[in-house]
């Protein structure tokens, strides 16, 4: 067994073991902290070491065992290639930051032990998704992640909104996962294997392949919170803030984007599936950005921005920008983790994340202010931060596909490009609005304090990444490409200038409105649209009326049917049978014992006769 093979398995096993140990020693806070931080930290170090080892080398697949199914076997195999290890480093790094941050943020929480263990399990599951070569094994990690997210979102289970959000997160994503599962079966049927490495080489363009890949997109839409399965993510911020950072940056939502990247060879063969992905991404991008405009909760603004940014990544992948989409995934992980942890710092300081109760925080929370500013600037795409380069590379890829053709129909590429540019404007507007409302204007809270060191250090680290990844931007995606895709990342001047103009326009619009409204919420100028945007276009209410309530009505019908139709029918048949027979007369008088005894006697007699006859 090679070093790389053992290493990739250990990267998953370490946080998994940390989770098991954490459950056992959860009561002793100090030990639980060491286990949680240590397990994730070791996984991070190992991911970096293995990553450096395989960098530029071949894809290395290590098989650990085969499980017969009676059909296509499940192969337990780990996979080391630039994509999986880059993402492993990303996941472990964000998880490490979250664990360190949580030692302080959750220090007064009586349930820290189980919390930290679940975060470790969550991390292990995501690492399994990233490092597995077999789709069914990937699905195991995928679903464990789903349940971990539900349990962590429901961490404050005393609160009704946390309980509801937890169930919603799991069930909505699970719904998408059923499509995913069937999609995997169709792929395995076509390729004769669940292994990505085999599927990549064995499939050919066909309608069946398109169907399979569109089914896979159901799961992607669920996990990466795309329309129409996006509804769980805004509510999911009911969980503790570090969990939001974890879900929105490194795990869970990243998995959907990663999966499209993982199956990219197959997607390139299915233009229709790519077009579906492009439409989904374009709609989600604008939809989520509009919804973000009118939120009152800072975490909700960030949640909708995640949905919108994930659509950028998927849009990038759809137009053929493999490295562009994944580059945006990585840079987004850095700045979104930063934004959520900074939002946590604000919550820690003033006890709320509602924008309407903030204002003028820049004087009291100086450090948090600057950190938040860096994060929001990266989100908006201000050069030379990471977000600028990664977003521009997506837009450039879209322009390329629109003008020169790509792996999808031209109209779909245009759609992504136009939606992408429009979203730049909207993103600039909502980010500026949140920034102004939180840090500028009249101070509304007194006595705010800066976060303690254990919370500050991860923020500094992530700030450095948010700035640094932009500089690395020209090198990293190219390296990611090595041996996979030769397209690389390009920046086109036309789209860059256009989007910078839109960016300035968005900032300007939000700023002038803010001034005009006497430093109150600029969203009020949206008029009657504001509450609609704030409620995410009422999609929840629509689902409630068309899906949830009918299910409960059906459930009541079923129970009534059981009691009044099926049971009498079956017992009725029973009575007829009994009436026909002589023996069960006793039973009709309620003396079942006699009947039973008769059967028992019959059995014994039969046995004795058997022995005697012999």
């Amino acid at each position: 067994m090679s070093f790389v093979g053992a290493g990739t398995a250990l990267i998953v096993a370490l946080p998994f073991a940390a989770s098991a140990a954490g459950l056992i020693y959860g009561k002793q806070r100090l030990i639980a902290q060491r286990i949680a931080v240590g397990g994730t930290g070791l996984a991070l170090v190992l991911a970096i070491v293995v990553g450096i080892t395989v960098w530029g080398g071949d894809i290395e697949i290590t098989t650990w065992g085969t499980i017969p199914t009676g059909w296509v076997p499940i192969v337990i195999a780990t996979r080391a290639d630039p994509l999986s290890l880059t993402l492993a480093v990303m996941v472990a790094a964000v998880a490490f930051a979250v664990q360190v941050y949580s030692t302080s943020y959750m220090s007064r929480d009586p349930r820290y032990g189980s919390y930290a263990a679940l975060v470790s399990l969550f991390t292990a599951a995501m690492l399994l998704v990233v490092l597995s070569d077999d789709l069914i094994v990937l699905l195991v990690g995928w679903e464990i992640m789903g349940i971990c997210s539900a349990l962590l979102i429901g961490h404050h289970w005393e609160l009704p909104e946390a309980r509801a959000a937890a169930v919603k997160a799991f069930v909505v994503t699970h719904l998408g996962d059923m499509g995913l599962l069937i999609g995997f079966l169709v792929l395995a049927d076509l390729a004769g294997s669940f292994q990505v490495s085999v599927i990549a080489t064995n499939v050919e363009p066909s309608t069946t392949l398109t169907v399979a890949l569109v089914l896979v997109l159901c799961g992607v839409a669920g996990k990466s919170a795309q329309v129409p399965l996006h509804v769980w993510l805004p509510d999911a911020m009911a969980g503790p803030t570090p969990i939001s950072a974890l879900i929105h940056a490194a795990t869970m939502v990243a998995a959907g984007v990663f999966l499209v990247g993982r199956l990219y060879d197959a997607y390139l063969l299915a233009p229709v599936a790519m077009a579906v992905l492009a439409v989904m991404a374009a709609v989600t991008m604008v939809f989520a950005a509009l919804s973000a405009l009118a939120q009152d909760d800072l975490k909700r603004v960030l949640a909708w921005s995640t949905t919108s940014q994930l659509a950028y990544m998927l849009g990038g992948l759809a137009v053929g920008g493999y490295s562009a989409g994944l580059f945006h995934l990585i840079s987004h992980a850095a700045f979104k983790a930063l934004l959520f942890l900074a939002a946590g710092a604000i919550a820690h300081a003033i006890g709320t994340t509602l924008l309407s109760r903030m204002g003028g925080l820049r004087t009291e929370l100086r450090r948090t202010y600057w950190i938040m500013t860096i994060g929001l600037a990266a989100l908006v795409g201000v050069p030379p931060l990471a977000g600028f380069f990664s977003k521009e590379s997506v837009l450039s890829a879209a322009e390329d596909a629109a003008v020169h053709g790509g792996p999808l129909p031209g109209w779909a590429a245009w759609l992504v490009l136009i939606a992408g540019l429009l979203t730049v404007l909207l993103t600039a507007a909502y980010a500026t609005r949140a920034w102004l409302l939180a840090f500028h204007g009249r101070p509304s809270e007194a006595g705010a304090h800066e976060p303690p060191p254990a919370m500050r250090l991860p923020l500094y680290g992530l700030s450095a990444a948010t700035i640094g990844l932009g500089v690395l931007g020209f090198w990293l995606p190219g390296a990611l490409d090595r041996g996979v895709r030769p397209d690389g990342v390009q920046l086109h001047w036309i789209t860059a200038i256009l989007s910078l103009l839109l960016l300035v326009g968005g900032v300007y619009a939000a700023y002038t409105t803010w001034l005009r409204e006497a430093q109150r919420d600029p969203a009020t100028s949206l008029g009657r649209a504001a509450p609609v945007f704030a409620d995410g276009m009422h999609v929840d209410a629509i689902y409630e009326a068309t899906v949830v309530r009918p299910v409960y009505t059906l459930a009541r019908l079923v129970v009534a049917g059981d009691r009044y139709v099926i049971h009498p029918y079956v017992t009725g048949t029973g009575r007829v049978v009994r009436a026909l027979g002589a023996v069960p007369q006793a039973a009709q008088r309620g003396k079942v014992q006699q009947y039973v005894t008769a059967v028992l006697v019959a059995v014994v007699v039969l046995a004795l006769v058997g022995v005697a006859v012999r």
Partner: protein, 503 residues
């Protein structure tokens, strides 16, 4: 080595007889110990079988015992074990051991402990015998042995507050299942008379050769119909909710954990190999009813107001997957049926233990009276309920997933002699049922475990899960995780048998 199989049946029988013969005061005092020791020894014997069993040749029947018993009746004492029966025998021995270990400290309501333990041991005789029998008549005999003890367990030790209700539940149970097994026996006798033998191995080897299509159809209807009551297949399930809900904890655990599996095992062991063409003809009906049952069971759970009843109804849905796997008549589907059955035994067994623990502590398992906040009141019990619910909804990485996955694989690629588009529709229905299952289980966790603890002050003495309970449930929890992470443990045993079965 064959002695091991005889011992696995003789030991619990000996324990049962010993208890019956002991003088009353001694018997009453020693009953739990005798039960525990007997079931522990039986478990050891079964584990010895696992050690002796040649795993490399799991498709072959091993440790074969074949003694002519009543040649004039065509009856033989024929026992053996292969990769299909071995996991079920282990499951049975393990669950009975767990139950009797549990009984040492937590007595069923209704006293008469000696009779209770003796009957549980008698149940074990029937259950293990059913899984080991290789003769149709012998199979039927063991199948019947189980019924009577279970009637007593439900009627005498069931729900203490509802004497008429528990007797009615026990009566419904026994009338349904007796009727079912009578029909099954008719099918067996018909096959036996037509083929000239009751030897299950010989019949399976012939695979229906020499039996005309009509004979096979009639036999399949009788055998499958009879077994379907036991499984139970929708719409023959209405005995189940009452029987499970009214039975004492140990009774519910064994009912759900093992008794239902006797039905599904019979489908895989007898119906499909012996009259394959007959099963093929009714497979669309079978699969359709199974798929309806999956959704129906899930929907019914939404409207339940009692934890125990909810767990009972959840079985209807889970067993739907078990039957759906059979109906596909493919190795994958049959593997799935077996795996789903085993996983259901572990997970639903655990759920009934937990529901019993909830009831012991609160005197009720009704949601309205329980209120919420079990995490606050009894954190360890709450955590275990959550774990079991997650396992039950079929989360990958826990045992419940693999059976459902393989049943779905089977429906995705059903046997070539079946209509694929039809099975794809069933697959879709089943998958919707799986999502609904996830929803009601999580809603149940939310309702019982989370939220405000409204009950705390009213019940001052409420201990959390004890060490003794952990010891009793431990094997189930451990196996749920182990089989979830390494399903190959069972599939390498079952798959070689299933490769030879089906059309």
């Amino acid at each position: 080595m064959t002695t091991l199989l005889h011992l696995a049946i003789a030991l619990p029988l000996a324990g049962c007889i010993t208890l019956a013969l002991l003088p009353a005061p001694t018997g009453r005092r020693l009953a739990p110990t005798v039960g525990l020791v007997t079931s522990a020894l039986t478990l050891l014997v079964v584990l010895a079988v696992v050690v002796v069993f040649d795993r490399g040749d799991a498709g072959r029947v091993q440790l074969l015992a074949d003694v002519e018993w009543a040649p004039t009746l065509g009856l033989s004492w024929r026992l053996g074990v292969d990769g299909l029966s071995l996991p079920f025998v282990v499951l049975t021995a393990l669950l009975v051991f767990s139950c009797l270990l549990y009984t040492v400290r937590i007595k069923p309501p209704g006293g008469r402990l000696r009779a209770f333990v003796a009957l549980v041991l008698l149940l074990e005789v029937g259950m293990i015998g059913t899984f080991l029998a290789l003769d149709l008549v012998l199979f039927f005999l063991f199948f019947e042995v189980v019924l009577i003890p279970m009637w007593f367990v439900i009627a005498w030790w069931g729900e203490p507050k509802d004497q008429p209700g528990r007797v009615a539940a026990a009566n419904t149970f026994i009338l349904y299942t007796l009727l079912g097994s009578a029909i099954m026996l008719v099918g067996f006798l018909y096959v036996g008379s037509q083929a000239g033998t009751f030897d299950m191995l010989e019949l399976a080897r012939r695979g229906g050769d020499g039996l005309s299509a009509n004979v096979q159809l009639l036999a399949a209807i009788a055998i499958v119909g009879g077994l379907a009551v036991k499984v139970p297949l929708w719409p023959l399930h209405t005995w189940l909710p009452d029987a499970h809900a009214k039975a004492p904890t140990v009774g519910s655990v064994l009912l759900a954990g093992v008794l239902l599996k006797m039905g599904s095992y019979g489908l895989v062991r007898i119906a499909v190999p012996v009259v394959p063409d007959g099963v093929r003809q009714i497979a669309p009906v079978l699969g359709g009813l199974a798929a309806v049952g999956i959704v129906y069971g899930a929907l019914a759970c939404f409207a339940q107001r009692d934890l125990k009843r909810l767990v009972a109804y959840s079985s209807v849905g889970h067993m739907g997957f078990v039957v759906l796997g059979v109906a596909t008549m493919t190795p994958a589907g049959l593997n799935g049926s077996v795996f789903a059955g085993l996983a259901h035994g572990l997970i639903t067994g655990l759920l009934f233990f937990l529901a019993g623990a909830v009831k012991d502590r609160h005197g009720t398992s009704e949601f309205d009276e329980l209120g919420g906040g079990m995490y606050a009141r009894l954190p360890r019990l709450g955590a275990l309920v959550t774990f079991a619910a997650i396992a039950s909804l079929g989360l990958p990485g826990l045992a419940g997933f693999w059976g459902e996955l393989l049943a779905i694989v089977g429906a995705f690629r059903p046997s070539a002699v079946l209509d694929r588009p039809y099975f794809l529709v069933l697959l879709t229905v089943a998958v919707i049922g799986a999502v609904l299952t996830a929803l009601y289980l999580l809603v149940t966790v939310r309702r019982v475990c989370q939220g405000e603890d409204s009950i705390g002050p009213r019940l001052p003495v409420l201990g959390d899960v004890t060490r003794h309970e952990i010891a009793s449930w431990g094997p189930l929890i451990a196996l749920t995780v182990l089989l979830g992470l390494w399903p190959g443990l069972v599939l390498t045993l079952v798959d070689p048998v299933m490769q030879g079965v089906g059309l």
